[in-house]
Amino acid sequence: MLLNGVLIEDTFAEAFTMRVARLLITARTPRWAKEAALKLTGFATSVIGCKCEAGIERELAADDTPDGRPGLSVLFLTMDKESLPQRLIERIGQTVLTCPTTACFDGLPDVPDRLPVGKALRAFGDGFQASKVVGDRRYWRIPVMEGEFLIEETFGMQKGVGGGNFLILAADADAALAAAEAAVEAMSGHPGVVLPFPGGVVRSGSKVGSKRYKKMVATTNDAFSPTLRAVTESQLPEGVNSVLEIVLDGTDGAAIESAMRLGIRAACRPGVKAISAGNFGGKLGPHHFHLRRILNGASPPPAV
């Protein structure tokens, strides 16, 4: 299959079930919401080393937030349900609580599985905190030097999908980067999806384990590393001299699929030889995103 002259390989991306929460961070100005969100989602690229994965989902206009101020929504994922509240409590406590003017609301209010995040963070108030119920949702007001930090008592947790991906195989590094940027641009703001890596892009795709070091959980994906074409069992087609990967986490498979479609289409530009995807033979992750099947489906991104 060719798209804009780019070969879409007959393979699939293999993804995992994760636990996801959605946070709405608001602030006096968009800038301070973003400062908090960037810190919150910083160092949250891969569960392998960060214990969580997170990213900014989209920017929110004042009319779309609970308190009528500008904000951002963030998706936050972990591999298991026990660790999600722990990571959230650590990170919100250090990055949002600390950030001027921000507030933190639950973005999955209808989900029955509730995480007592604000309920735990209230202890920072040292007994001076106060709760407030508005409608049927409870918030905690935690007194701080600036004034008050407001956080919702509980956050919804649902099953999500982590590790959706595709690989951009390009003739040179410049073409690969331009294609990756175009793909990220096309996917940005897509509901239900975040790209946890720097700028949404990974240059160091990995394989499971190591050929040499027993203790390494993940090591370089030598099959797609162009400098190793001659010394390893390379999977790189001829003429490919640089590969970049896009990794997607999301609230559900449909969102990932829809975002991948947009991203791959945008990535198929001059200088790109092929689009591939990472998998483990289909035995590890329950979610399989077949590239050709995705691109044949012409569905628009799901409405929020």
Partner: protein, 273 residues
């Protein structure tokens, strides 16, 4: 159609009509509803002696019914109701929605004293004025409203929110004296002005007012700021139909802590002019 009650013979003394709840009327025909027993003064009487009843109650669970006329001597309407809806075209008497746990009561008129005492859930909306003891604890009880919302578009009398522990009392007009007296927690918002001794003996909770007020000496000024939760709260009041101004949403409020004779964990928020 649902049941409709029109007051035909106004009671000369108070009529205790706690039978007027969606649950008690569920599935009844108009003649059956007219046979329900009420207490007129100190005598038993049939509902039909006072009301013309039309229609049939909504099938299934608790539905909706209407009351029309000057019901200012009809007490205990909707007392203890758990769901369903009552719409009253006219004024209504004391103990409206007392101890209700859910459902909704709309009054297109005034309400007498004791609106929603010790309610735990649901909503009461009074389009006119209400009397004393809105959302209060019954005499002797330590705890008043434990949940739910009471919205009065007009003014209220004294002791609104007395002893409340949770929930919301929102007053579009002025509140009388002792608003939030002995409140344990919860929220009282008064878009008009507060009377004397607001929050006397309050332990926790919030009283919000949009007009300057002189507080008891056991309240201490803390700071002037824009409490974020107020944006949520006022947005909620707007959705409930109260005329909240933008300046109130984005305004800065003086925070006063009190009551120091109790826990001192309560607050009175006063909008800065």
């Amino acid at each position: 159609m649902s049941l409709a009650f029109t007051l035909r013979t106004p009671p000369t003394v108070p009529l205790e009509a706690e039978v007027l709840t969606p649950a008690r009327l569920a599935g009844l025909s108009a003649p059956e509803a007219a046979k329900l027993s009420v207490v007129h003064g100190n005598e038993r009487a049939d509902l039909g002696e006072f009301f013309q009843v039309q229609g049939t109650a909504d099938g299934g669970g608790a539905g909706e019914f209407r009351l029309t006329g000057d019901l200012s001597r009809v007490k205990h309407v909707g007392a203890g109701m758990a769901d369903g809806r009552i719409v009253i075209h006219g004024s209504v008497g004391m103990h409206l929605g007392a101890e209700m746990t859910g459902g909704e009561i709309i009054v297109e008129g005034d309400a007498a004293d004791w609106v929603g005492p010790e309610m735990t859930g649901g909503r009461i909306v009074i389009k006119g004025n209400a009397g004393h003891m809105v959302g209060a604890a019954s005499r002797g009880s330590a705890v008043g409203v434990r949940g739910g919302e009471i919205v009065v578009f007009g003014n209220t009398g004294n002791e609104a929110g007395h002893g409340m522990r949770r929930g919301l009392v929102a007053i579009g007009g002025d509140a009388g004296d002792f608003a939030g007296v002995s409140m344990l927690a919860g929220t009282i918002v008064v878009l008009g002005s507060l009377g004397w001794r607001a929050g006397a003996g309050m332990r926790r909770g919030s009283i919000v007012t949009m007009h300057p007020v002189e507080l008891l000496p056991t309240f201490s000024y803390a700071c002037t700021y824009a409490p974020l939760y107020l944006r949520l709260l006022l947005a909620r009041l707007r959705r409930l139909g109260l005329p909240v101004a933008d300046a109130q949403v984005s305004g800065r409020y003086q925070r006063w802590s009190g009551d120091a004779v109790e826990l001192n964990k309560g607050e009175v928020l006063i909008l800065e002019a």
